[in-house]
């Protein structure tokens, strides 16, 4: 593994991991998310 390999591996993996973590944090902490949670009662109305 060369130094270039280490750099590319670390930059690639850490950037996607950071973005993933930020997105999940943002989704879970965005104000008003609770308002968008719908009940289970309408989940498959076309089934009947």
């Amino acid at each position: 593994m060369t130094i270039g390999g280490w750099i590319i591996m670390l930059v690639s993996t850490l950037s996607v991991t950071g973005l993933f973590g930020w997105c999940i944090w943002k989704v879970l902490t965005t104000e008003g998310e609770d308002e968008k949670v719908h009940g289970f009662e309408i989940e498959t109305p076309d089934k009947d």
């Binding site: 593994m1 943002k26 109305p45 076309d46």
Partner: protein, 583 residues
């Protein structure tokens, strides 16, 4: 003109994100991506990969999410219905049919691969997977899937795929019948975190393997990571005479790539002793000049994110008017990227390399790496029974979350086109996909049917649909209006420079990718040489016609014709939309 049936919806934002991410995360993340990266330049491939992510991955993803939600607001959930309503022109419905053909046809063979994963997980759990060589593992795989002759994959024993196929087929339709939130969403909410935890456990195991084969200390995890990530390739070249002209030229040896100080020293010795050998370093810049590398990187981004697949547009149509699509799209994309680059990129190839070295993993392809190399690696590894089970169960979960997503576009289409309920549409789709799957499983010799369908659907139809969608977003709806639609209820904003990218760069990039694929894979030309070499798929159809290949293309055409007929006589009646604010 709304029916009395209320529109179904997602239960939470995290639910749809995990469902879309589940659709994208599949075998390609853990098996195809590492192989492609290593084959096309390692670190250099990653540069092209991230460029493609920004220029086509994210733009098409956001466009699909926005178009889908907009169509859903008009009460339509199928790709033909949505494209017809967002453009205001019914003829666009016919282009939208591609968004149903793709998932329905891919499901027909994907569920077969899903059954392989379950079968391998069960056999590892039973302790019956013990291979000393890759050939042994390959022989097991061949027997398991009936690779030798047509009709030989239909057995129902533990070491045959038939029983597992039946289980996964019923399991998929059981979940899809339960509907969006109680079926797809609920499953993805448990399956996705489980998948990530399993992948992390396997990652830790792989990264602590060291050099597991004492006689070959150069075969170690660090060199495996180097093979995957090094931006500069060190390759042994051989001087040969050109067959046509007789002129001398240098060409890389088939297994000429070397990684790590010991292999490089050996290669230097060989080169010093033989004037017809030369050790060359290929830098990142040189590799980035290779069009094939860009084509591979764009293709990987494209297939990995499941854009142009017909799934995101349907999934997002079940969102409410002010539900966010920008952050959700980014979150689903980043989940897929984390699984692919962060987990898949560090696990499978280095594991194979540590046991078999470069010759054992180079150019093995998705199935070769996944079902020949890795089963042997796991059976040789300490604790291999557990880790083998965990890995193939991980692949099984990834496959189920993907195959589930392939059914919903078909369900939505049949409901709308035929004005029937979910129960009826599940029954019809079940029959159609079962017939298609039976075809793929029967024509199992050389996995010809599977391979042919996969090639034409993923390379041709997906790129065409994605191009249609991005052109509709940027040009038919208009980029300004498109951004307005996307930003409605958005938790974050799409950076302004994406307007230029989505309007000009993404469509152009897609057209170039499509053109390059057509030039090389269909017309048989090669970049950088005058040599013309047809791909096996063209040979199977036009040069040495193969019955399985022609029948496979026939399945795609027949499915398309069936869906076109339904679209032509389709009802496409909008369902009532229950908005929270209006309740």
């Amino acid at each position: 003109m709304s029916s009395k049936v209320p529109k179904e919806s997602w239960n939470s934002r995290l639910g749809i994100i995990l469902a879309v991410a589940g659709s994208a995360v599949g075998l390609g993340n853990f098996l195809r991506f590492p192989g492609q990266a290593a084959q096309y330049g390692g670190g250099a491939f990653m540069v092209a990969y991230f460029v493609a992510l920004v220029l086509i991955g994210l733009p098409i993803c956001w466009a699909e999410w926005a178009i889908g939600r907009k169509g859903g607001q008009a009460g339509l959930n199928s790709s033909p219905g949505i494209l017809g309503v967002v453009t205001g022109q019914k003829r666009f419905r016919y282009l939208g049919i591609i968004g149903v053909i793709i998932p329905v046809v891919i499901y027909m063979y994907y569920v077969y691969i899903e059954a392989w994963c379950l079968g391998y997980a069960v056999n590892f759990a039973k302790g019956s997977m013990d291979f000393d060589t890759v050939d042994q593992a390959g022989a097991f795989w061949g027997q398991f899937i009936g690779i030798k002759e047509d009709g030989s994959a239909l057995g129902f024993g533990w070491t045959e795929v038939g029983g597992f196929l039946l289980v996964v087929f019923i399991f998929n339709f059981f979940l899809i019948y339960r509907g969006l939130s109680k079926g797809i969403e609920l499953f993805c909410k448990y399956a996705m975190p489980t998948l990530i935890v399993l992948a992390i456990i396997i990652l830790v195991r792989v990264l602590t393997l060291g050099a597991p084969v004492a006689e070959h200390p150069e075969n170690n995890v660090q060199n495996g990571l180097g093979f995957m990530w090094n931006p500069t390739k060190t390759i042994l070249y051989e001087r040969v005479a050109d067959e046509a002209t007789g002129a001398e030229k240098w060409q890389p040896l088939p297994d000429g790539e070397v990684v790590g100080p010991r292999m490089i020293a050996d290669a230097q010795e060989r080169a010093a002793a033989d004037p017809n050998l030369e050790l060359r370093e290929i830098g990142m810049a040189t590799q980035l000049l290779n069009p094939q590398l860009w084509l591979a990187a764009a293709g990987q981004i494209f297939f990995s994110l499941s854009v142009g697949f017909g799934v995101i547009i349907t999934y997002s149509s079940y969102l409410k008017k002010n539900d966010d699509v920008v952050l959700s799209g980014l979150a689903a994309t980043s989940t897929n990227e984390f699984c692919e680059v962060g987990l898949g990129g560090l696990t499978t190839l280095p594991a194979g390399y540590a046991f078999l070295g470069i010759s054992g993993v180079a150019g093995m392809g998705t199935f070769g790496l996944g079902f020949n190399v890795l089963p042997m690696v796991f059976s040789e590894m300490p604790g291999g029974q557990f880790f083998g089970f965990a890995f193939f169960f991980l692949l099984f979960l990834a496959a189920v979350t993907s195959s589930l997503s392939m059914l919903q576009p078909g369900i939505a289409f049949l409901e709308e086109a035929m004005n029937i309920n979910r129960k009826q549409s599940v029954a019809i789709l079940g029959f159609v996909t079962a017939a298609g799957c039976a075809f793929v499983v029967y024509f199992s010799a050389g996995v010809k049917a599977l391979d042919t369908i996969d090639f034409w659907v993923t390379n041709l139809l997906m790129v065409v649909l994605a191009t249609i969608q991005i052109i509709i977003f940027g040009w038919v709806i208009g980029i300004e209006r498109g951004f307005e639609i996307a930003h409605q209820g958005a938790a974050i904003r799409i950076p302004g420079f994406f307007k230029f990218i989505m309007k000009y760069v993404s469509p152009l990039f897609l057209i170039v990718v499509f053109g390059a694929w057509f030039y090389t894979s269909v017309l048989g030309f090669q970049f950088g040489t005058d040599e013309k070499k047809y791909s096996s798929y063209i040979v199977d159809l036009f040069i040495e016609p193969n019955r399985s290949a022609w029948l496979s293309v026939g399945v795609i055409v027949l499915t398309g014709a069936f869906l076109t007929l339904l679209t032509a006589g389709g009802v496409f009646k909008a369902k009532t939309i229950k908005e929270e604010g209006s309740q």
